[in-house]
């Protein structure tokens, strides 16, 4: 008999025993289920109104050429796929998806790396590290617009302390936000600074829960600090890193204030990510129908991506079990 069969039979036994113990009949069980649904109904109704209806409206709108300057377009379903056909040939959208992919991959990897590194250092539990722990959280708790302004100041040669220093040293350094080759890097640096504390705090929490036995046993066996990290700590953190990465990946697709303040998507379109493009289409040109179609595609991509990652995370857990 396989492990799964044993487990399934065990659950069945426990269920039957529990029901017998409680003296429940099928009618009572149905009543109980109905009562639970009754309690859940208001919450489900609110959820439907707050999340599902707007999404549904967005989907419906994506089949219209809705343009705010022409209200008659709101219910024009004469060519429902026009927006979806347009986005297939929209080079600027394709470019924005590519920019988004670069930004997301690099920022998530960097935030995981820095977050892990700093969390491992802070986990040393010395008085200095305890004091530093809070200060590392500052970038994450600042309002995003403030973070953007801080970096705008840092990247503006005429007011930046960094450029003052460069000038004193006689270095002629171009500002990265107006350099097509460096503008995206400038956004990545600022975004990593802002959000690595998030991954750091999740990893720190996981480290605090980590059982000490394995480490102590390895230490007794003479394992070095690198071996401890590589063979014990990192495998233990694998699931945590995947969850933190997933959160950051989804969040990275929503990056907006940094781009709005620092580069406005430029120079040209080198820092124009998909959600910024959607913003331009809807709020600068009022093409609500088209931006709804792009949003639906982006939403579908995020859902698929999340599903893949969640599968990867849960698959990893099953293997461990």
């Amino acid at each position: 008999m396989s492990t799964l069969d044993v487990e399934s039979r065990h659950r069945k036994d426990v269920g039957l025993a529990g029901r017998a113990k409680a003296g429940t009949s099928p009618a009572f069980e149905r009543q109980r289920q109905r009562f639970f649904w009754l309690l859940l109904a208001p919450v489900l109704a609110i959820l439907a109104v707050v999340t599902l209806l707007p999404t549904l409206y967005l989907l419906v709108t994506s089949f219209t050429p809705l343009n705010l300057a022409n209200p008659a377009t709101a219910w024009d379903f004469s060519d429902p796929l026009v927006n979806y056909r347009t986005l297939l040939t929209d080079d600027r959208l394709h470019n924005s998806l590519w920019v988004q992919a670069k930004l997301s991959v690099v920022t998530v990897v960097l935030q995981l790396l820095f977050g892990l590194l700093v969390a491992l250092l802070l986990n040393m539990r010395t008085p200095l590290m305890n004091a530093l722990r809070t200060s590392f959280l500052v970038p994450m708790v600042l309002p995003p617009i403030v973070v953007a302004i801080i970096w705008k100041v840092l990247y503006s040669p005429d007011i930046s302390p960094a450029w003052w220093l460069f000038q004193v040293l006689g270095w002629n350094v171009q500002t990265p936000i107006t350099d097509a080759g460096w503008a995206l890097t400038a956004i990545i640096v600022a975004d990593t600074w802002e959000w690595f504390p998030f991954t750091m705090i999740i990893i720190l929490a996981a480290l605090a829960m980590m059982p000490e036995e394995q480490r102590e046993a390895a230490e007794v066996d003479g394992a070095s600090i690198w071996q401890l990290t590589w063979y014990i700590t990192l495998p233990y953190l694998k699931g945590t890193l995947l969850v933190a990465g997933l959160f950051r990946l989804i969040d990275s697709i929503k990056t907006f204030p940094l781009i709005y303040i620092l580069t406005d998507g430029g120079p040209g379109s080198v820092t124009e990510v998909s959600n910024y493009y959607i913003f331009v289409q809807s709020f600068s040109f009022s093409y609500i129908g088209y931006s709804a179609a792009v949003t639906m595609v982006l939403l579908a991509m995020i859902v698929v991506l999340s599903w893949i990652i969640i599968r990867a995370v849960s698959g990893g857990s099953n293997v461990e079990q």
Binding site: P65, N67, L68, A69, N70, P71, T73, T86, D90, R92, K152, Y155, S156, P157, D158, W163, Q174, T175, I177, T178, D179, A180, L262, T263, D264, G266, P267, G268, S269, V270, V280, F283, S284, F285, S286, Y287, Y290
Partner: protein, 460 residues
Amino acid sequence: MKRGDRTAVETVASAGLFRRDVLKFALAGSAMAAIGLRAPAVLANAKPFEGITLRGACFQHIFHTYIQKLLPEFEEQTGMKVEFDLQAFPVYNQRMDLELSTQGSSYDFCNITHSFSGRWISAGWLTPLNGFLDDPNKTAADFDPDDFVSGTQIAYIDAKKQVHGFAWEAGAMMMAASRFDLLDKEGIAMPTTLAELADVCKATHNKSGVAAFVADRLHHWNFPPYLMGFGGKVFRDPPGDLMPVLDSAESIEAAAYYAGLLSNYCPAGVLSYTDDQAMRNQLAGRANLRINAMSWLLPLAKSDDSRVKDTVRFALMPEGPKGSFPACNANAYGIPAGSRQKDAAWAFIQWATSKKTFERTALEMGGLATPRRSIIEDPRYKQALTINGQDIASMYLDVLERSGRDGYMAYRTVPVWPQAGEKINKAIERVASGQADAETSMKEAQAAAVEDIKKAGVKL
């Protein structure tokens, strides 16, 4: 008292109520008061908008600070209370675009941004003001709409001659050298042609650590005068023919010229400069020449922060091979179509853009970007705008009149201007940052503009 003798405020105070009625009720009220009775509520019509709260939205601008200082007098005379919702320029435009599209009644009056005027007016989101102007009970004879310089009103009058707004601010593009002394030292006069401008920049760039030129990142405002100077256009024949022509030989030549100024003669990081950053560079004497609306150049002579008061010189925008087309714009007050207090809103607009109010904002408070000819030609105005011996008032009036007369600013007030303007911004950035040459970039801009304009349902 003849109608012609009444001031705007007096008319405002009696709007919606004939003078005879006021007198009649006033007499009745006095009689009842005399016999100890409580005065009837209608007596309050001496302040016809008593109890009304008027809500308006505008972008942040010093003019509104002046207006807010004067508001207590207006509120006292009319009985209404006026609330302003002020937002940053880009935020305001986006929010108001949405707000107007709902035909909501959140605001009773609003700013009509010049570049959105065609879009908002053609969509029917603003109230025509002709009904108010034609009604002597609602409009004072001394309001004198013809006193507004033509270039400031052209964007707010539709094809049927209906007026939708009155300017509270006017912008006339001119050139200022914050460090004219550097040119003078080289024996160079202020450039009068675009070719001379390039030569001056080349000759003076980084002399004494001063960048020869500076601009902000609103290329859709800065660039079209160069474009037209080289013989190019944004649209083939606006407002009738909205086919963009950004890929013409003239457009490409203009883009190469303008992007060259940005990449060769400006301070580092100029592509990210806001209006204010560009102005600060001039105020501090770190950058010399700038071509922009007068409001952004006058602080060089008037601001306490200016280090260049003695060295600043002004000139008209240099001519291109095909002529001079300095940009002109004006922002106006209008009444949203959904407003439920249109009479009160008109009373406010009439007061805020009256000669008397502009006299105070322009001549007493220093808001010199005024749209009324009578103020611009006032000797006190001329005196205030005579800077280092130069008559700036004449230059200002010249630009406002020229754009009204020649109508070359029509490109900026068509409904699809935001789409084309954004493509210009991107195109110039690509050229100035070295991502593409002018030809490639302008052709890309043309293709993108055509695609985006088609989405608006415009047949090209």
